[in-house]
Symmetry: C2
Subunit: 217 residues, 2 copies
Amino acid sequence: MTSSSKIPTEFNDERRSTRKHRAILGAAATVFLRNGYLGTSMDEIATLAGVSKQTVYKHFADKERLFVEIVISTVNEISDPVHEEVLNLPDSGDVEADLCDLARRQLARVMQPRLLQLRRLVIGEASRFPQLGRTFYERGPGRTIAALATAFERLAERGVLQLEDPALAAAQFNWLIMSAPINQAMLLGRDEAPAPADLNRYAHGGVRAFLAAYRNR
Amino acid sequence: MTSSSKIPTEFNDERRSTRKHRAILGAAATVFLRNGYLGTSMDEIATLAGVSKQTVYKHFADKERLFVEIVISTVNEISDPVHEEVLNLPDSGDVEADLCDLARRQLARVMQPRLLQLRRLVIGEASRFPQLGRTFYERGPGRTIAALATAFERLAERGVLQLEDPALAAAQFNWLIMSAPINQAMLLGRDEAPAPADLNRYAHGGVRAFLAAYRNR
């Protein structure tokens, strides 16, 4: 009886702890994005998560570590599938269609309101937390651009593209697609995803300019 | 005697007032950029400007109006000459050289530490002050892109470029040149201007990609 009653209790404790951990992370994301770093208190996070302040501190040593955790998990969640898609860029024989499809999917992921708000917050705090901005950059756009460079080198080996500086071409592709909507969203404080027609215009316009520059003739 | 003694006094009062106005603006810019909007107090600005807090309030009704003034004057100061240069884009017959020269000068202006810090601050505050981000965008990149569209339409009329969507081509030119260094500076919290070799790589690489897409053949 001892062992059979013990295991479920530990299991329940663990489940309860995981549930609280997730509730705290969810509440913290909401409060940080709404009030900024300075405007956020552990009290408010505890209230929203429905746990005691002590519990919050048991899971996260301080506000800074909780903030870092929110940034890393949000960026990974969005950037992991983007990275996958870039590395698995198909080669259907129609490079324009393949790249447009990739660009539209990248744009739709990166223009999610939650990531835009977080990006704004991280930029606003970049002088206080330079390491956090660096992490955002490296796990976000930096990783995507590196994967694009690899994908484009492969297309160059197959004679589809002609490149001198794959890293520069990858950065240009990324920013040809992303810059106009991201920079507008950053400065205008707009969080809605762009309309599908605008997504198409940025994606298609960016890919056409990119291919005009780098398609092998 | 009355009139001759009166004029210099008024004149001196005005000069003193202008001097204080400038001292407050300079101090406010320093404190806002160092501490952010929430972290800045009118007290600290008064102390740094060497005036009383009352004097600060006589010149600027509240912290918000002072912040708006700093943003508008800084953006105008940097964006006015960029706008001029774009509208006066020379036509030497060597469009690649002309655009590279323009791109290098644009980059050097936009990558000034003070403007990068301010851009970061405005982005961080865009949900609190959406109007301010909009002003930054409209007087900064928005105005430059509109001027580029006009300049490129002129080049298209002369048969140098071939364009379907001048506004899109202008945005692409702007972001091909600016995006990599600006987005890195934003997230990495770096304020130094890029090394001249990097400025050249961004400018030249951006112009080459742009012309590959839009030069009339």
